[in-house]
Amino acid sequence: MEAHALRTFAQIKATVHELGQSIVAAHANDVDQQARFPHEAFAALRSERLLSSYVPANFGGDGLSLTEVSELCRILGHYCSSTAMIYAMHQIQVACLVHHGQESTYFSGYLRRMCEEQLLLASATTEMGVGGDLRSSICHVEVEGDQFTLTKQAPVISYAQHSDAILVTCRSHKEAPASDQTQVLVDTAKTKLTPLTGWDTLGFRGTCSAGFTLEAQGHKDQILPTPFSVVLAHTMHPVSHLTWGSLWTGMAQGATNKARLAVRDMMRRSDELPQVTALRLAELDEVLFSMKGGLAGAMQAYQAMLDSNNLFQAEKYGFAIQVNNVKTRCSEMVVDVVSKALQIVGIGGYRNDGKYSLCRELRDAHGAALMVNNDRIRGHNATMQVVVKES
């Protein structure tokens, strides 16, 4: 394995900011308009070896903590929400392998390869017929000898055709009930993807989240050894909501920065700035503050579990509610923040061009509450709220 100089988190952060300001921001509008994959951004992230930032150093990654990786998602969220979403979704799949695959020879080898080749991982959890209910599958993995086959009707797989591998949830065998699920890491190059639906959407257009019938085969070692119920509770659920919450906070921060810039420019032009404009900016920052605060609390709780190697704590209803609240609140507050920023900026924000434009941000922000529908999440919280004594 090639040796790589260790770099500090501060250096990594500076690199991501640099890439964000230059390459990522420069192509964000085109990515959005064409609803195309952010190739330039990912070529740069790969060449800076940023796809393996969460992989432990002994496999060749940077071994960053989840708090640190989430900070990178937040930074990217300032510049291009689609790039940040793809980066976050990739990190969620990486975390599943890092937390639940290290004991398997296949997966530890894969982690090493991931670092060397800077592989990009996608996810196919949603399935035709079960909607956004993560905890049930219709399709199953069929094992014969040491080979498996798997066919899934997946209505949404972000960047499927640009990924190197896809982590697919399915029932663990032909007779298994809907909730007895497992995950299989399929090699995209060896998978047949027949288009079901396109991705011409309001926002997050660059995530290229089209639908496919996925037909995969491979070696049975590609089946993750930990049951999906455990992977979900210990890793996928908290990591998804925390990294998404982070990137949405980054989007909100980006919009707030634009509003601030607009207010300053107005002040430069005339020192008679209407008081209400600055007041609105102060209010806007309060919402952003609540977003950051809620996220930080849950992040700290989860990071403590990771640091003490006690992911069983993540199964507690109290924690699950907290993480769900990060998802529902951040996804709704990001819309609130961007809308408030638009009110402050005025017509300049409503224009599709110009340095104050907030159109793309507003469209993207509306996707957050739909990816794993907030009503579904509130439904889970509603049942847990009945049993817990205190949240």
């Binding site: 199964e315 209803y317 049993v387 817990v388």
Partner: protein, 79 residues
């Protein structure tokens, strides 16, 4: 030692995909029909039956995942 009483409560409050007599003490109840919603009914019925209260620290999937796990919880809570 509470297994039999727990079994009859599980059979009443959960829509099981198998007969309760075909379920072993260590079987995963979530794969035979227990859902997050029915977990609430199950917990409330157990609290009534045994006159106990599940503390927040115990509220996780693990506690409800099998007859054996439920028995451990009931034994500890009623001790």
């Amino acid at each position: 030692m509470y297994q039999e009483r727990i079994r009859s409560i599980v059979a009443k409050s959960v829509k099981l995909s198998k007969d309760i007599t075909d379920i072993q003490d260590s079987d995963d109840l979530y794969s035979v029909g227990l859902t997050s919603l029915t977990t609430v009914n199950l917990m409330l019925s157990l609290e009534d039956e045994f006159d106990i209260e599940f503390d927040d620290n115990r509220l996780s999937r693990q506690t409800f995942e099998s007859i054996a796990a439920l028995n451990d919880a009931v034994e500890e809570l009623s001790a």
